[in-house]
């Protein structure tokens, strides 16, 4: 029972990490290696709004999400737009940006155990004999809500449909009058806000540390690759797969192996089936 409940919570957390990354890659084929950095940055921004400016918690959360979305959009508009389509340059430029943000934060003195966010609702409850605090339940609820809203957004609104159109076939979308650069910009802003949302839900469970940026990036990549790059629902399913695998290793092998599982999942998936478990196989694009 414990495994089932904590596995679900861990999976929801992984899905939250990965959705932003999956969204950006799915729409604009842009692997956003600055994802983890945006996650940490938004955590610190919320902390700053909350403690240094003394704003209301809800207000600072909304502000942090908007600001992170803004940063993502600026990154796209001024830097990434120039190297669209050059895969390696994209990886290196986004990675360099992430590195600059993370190490800049570390240099700015944002390290140690002093930075924590308060939980939305304190306290805990017991489900089937397992004690769970409300924040973790909230993570599952928000994770489910985000997946549901994203599904509604991409299926029933004009902008969501254009994003999906871009994801499926960029040229056809261009012919139908969808502005590819604008949509990529929107996707980048949305993806960054999703990273911020993940940070705000998950950071109250621990401290805000710079190192989390690298781990979040690896986990997000692991989920997206196992689910198939560019497939959103695949990412959600893969989050459950990896989430439960991680909890099982923690219970039966030890906490050291948690990250090993994620990395092994990436390597094995890429070797055996590069388009992921739920992606469409595009034999010629990915392997010889």
């Amino acid at each position: 029972m414990e495994i089932l409940i904590y596995g679900t919570i861990n999976s929801a957390a992984l899905a939250l990490y990965a959705l932003g990354f999956a969204m950006v890659y799915g729409v604009s084929r842009l692997p956003n290696f600055a994802h983890g950095a945006l996650y940490v940055l938004s955590g610190f921004m919320t902390w700053f709004f909350l403690n240094s400016l003394g704003l209301n918690y809800l207000l600072s959360v909304i502000l942090a999400m908007l600001a992170t979305g803004m940063i993502g959009a600026l990154m796209y508009q001024f830097i990434l737009i120039r190297i669209r389509g050059m895969e390696i340059s994209e990886i290196m430029a986004t990675y360099a940006m992430g590195l600059a943000i993370l190490e800049g934060l570390r240099w700015g003195g944002f390290k140690g155990m002093t930075y924590t966010l308060p939980a939305f609702i304190a306290g805990s409850t017991t489900i089937f004999g397992v004690s769970v605090d409300y924040q973790r339940l909230l993570v599952v609820a928000i994770g489910g809500a985000v997946v549901g809203l994203l599904w509604l957004f991409t299926h029933y609104t004009r902008m969501g449909l254009s994003l999906r159109g871009m994801a499926q076939d960029e040229r056809a979308a261009l012919m139908l009058g969808i502005d590819s650069d604008r949509m990529a910009l929107v996707a980048m802003a949305f993806g960054s806000s999703l990273a911020a949302l993940a940070a705000i839900c998950l950071l109250p469970l621990g401290n805000i540390v710079v190192e989390a940026g690298y781990n979040v990036l690896i986990l997000a990549i692991a989920v997206c690759i196992v689910g198939g790059l560019g497939s959103w629902m695949g990412a959600v399913l893969a989050a459950f797969l990896i989430g439960f695998a991680q909890i099982l290793t923690v219970v039966y092998l030890g906490a050291h192996y948690q990250m090993v599982v994620a990395l092994l999942a990436i390597i094995l998936t890429l070797i055996i089936r590069p388009s992921g478990l739920f992606g469409r196989q595009k034999e010629l694009e990915e392997r010889v």
């Binding site: 290196m92 940006m97 600059a100 690896i218 690759i225 990395l263 390597i267």
Partner: protein, 338 residues
């Protein structure tokens, strides 16, 4: 006259055309035009340890040369074979740990451990990377980025090879001059070796693998065999760098799988000029001392070179050496548009 009426044209210098091919042997002037840049690099690198003040900066040169070996391996794989390997740290770590084990457990001297670690490490890396060789583009890049992280976590979790403490008590070189000249010699050897290699027939095939692997396949050649060979050569360079590193620091630990060894060589290659091989070495000789100078600023130096890298990728993707070559071989002048 409006500027819109004029354009800049680039014309090859006469001496470049005259010194093309066998005619270069006709006069001393043309000979020196061809050989001077190369000789300047060799002579410059050989005199560096002599002119630098103090042991600290001599050590920096050794480290720069190790990074240069890594940058060469990245440049060779990425721009001549089409495998973008973001996991240079994996080569360093494998070579480093092998040299450390050979030295501490089997008692071999550095003269033996470095070549052995190079060959064995390259074989090991090639074997481990073999399953992902059919992958292309971004898929290979991500999987190779994950290899060093994976190795790091495995060593941490299994607590093998000294766990997080690493392996201590490794022999150093007999004197700092042997250390310096061994590293510099290896760098120069591999630089000119790979330059030669990519201009031979096999280099042509490798570039074919990069540009159009289906055509190579249609010519009845086995792509995987050529990729394996290329990975072996590249990982040999990385492993040699790692072996030198552990003997210089007399210590081998999981920080040899750290991202530094993957990112700095790539940054150096981009700055020096992608696909020129010599540019990778020059980039390291520029970037490593700068990052040493910035050591006082702590992690700000990582921010600094991340920003440089980003700037070069986005705004000056040709790199310094390509720019320099253009100025050396061609002149520019304004002409009126007809």
């Amino acid at each position: 006259m409006q500027t819109g009426q004029q354009r800049k044209e680039r014309i090859d210098r006469g001496i470049r055309i005259r010194s093309d091919g066998l005619y270069a042997l006709m006069s001393w002037r043309e000979l020196s035009y061809l050989t001077l840049p190369r000789l300047a690099l060799i002579a410059g690198m050989l005199t560096l340890p002599l002119v630098l003040p103090g042991m600290y900066w001599q050590r920096v040169v050794s480290i720069a040369c190790i990074y240069a070996l890594l940058a060469l391996s990245f440049d060779f794989l990425a721009h001549f074979v089409g495998l973008v390997c973001l996991g240079g740290a994996f080569f360093v770590g494998t070579g480093g740990y092998l040299a450390a084990i050979l030295n501490t457990s089997f008692g071999l001297p550095p003269v033996m451990t470095i070549p052995l670690a190079t060959v064995l490490g390259a074989a090991l890396c090639t074997l481990l990377l073999l399953p992902c060789l059919p992958l292309r583009g971004v898929y290979f890049a991500i999987v190779s980025l994950m290899y060093p992280l994976f190795a790091m976590r495995v060593i941490e979790a299994l607590n093998i090879f000294g766990g997080t403490d690493g392996i201590l008590g490794i022999d150093s070189f007999s004197s700092r001059w042997t250390e310096q000249y061994a590293v510099i010699g290896a760098t120069l050897l591999f630089l000119f070796g790979t330059r030669r290699l990519v201009n031979m027939d096999i280099g042509l095939v490798l570039r074919g693998v990069k540009d159009n692997d289906q055509a190579i396949r249609a010519s009845g050649m086995n792509i995987t065999r050529y990729k394996t060979l290329a990975v072996f050569i590249a990982s040999a360079m990385g492993c040699m760098g790692g072996a030198f590193l552990v003997h210089i620091y007399m210590w081998s630990g999981i920080s040899q799988f750290a991202l530094d060894f993957s990112i700095l060589p790539i940054a150096a290659t981009v700055i020096g000029g992608s696909g020129t091989l010599a540019g990778a070495v020059i980039g390291c000789l520029i970037l490593v001392p700068i990052s040493e100078l910035l050591r006082d600023f702590g992690t700000l130096r990582i921010v600094f070179y991340a920003v440089i890298l980003m700037g070069f990728i986005v705004f000056r993707s040709e790199g310094l050496l390509v720019y320099g070559q253009r100025k050396y071989h061609q002149f520019e002048r304004w002409t009126t548009r007809l």
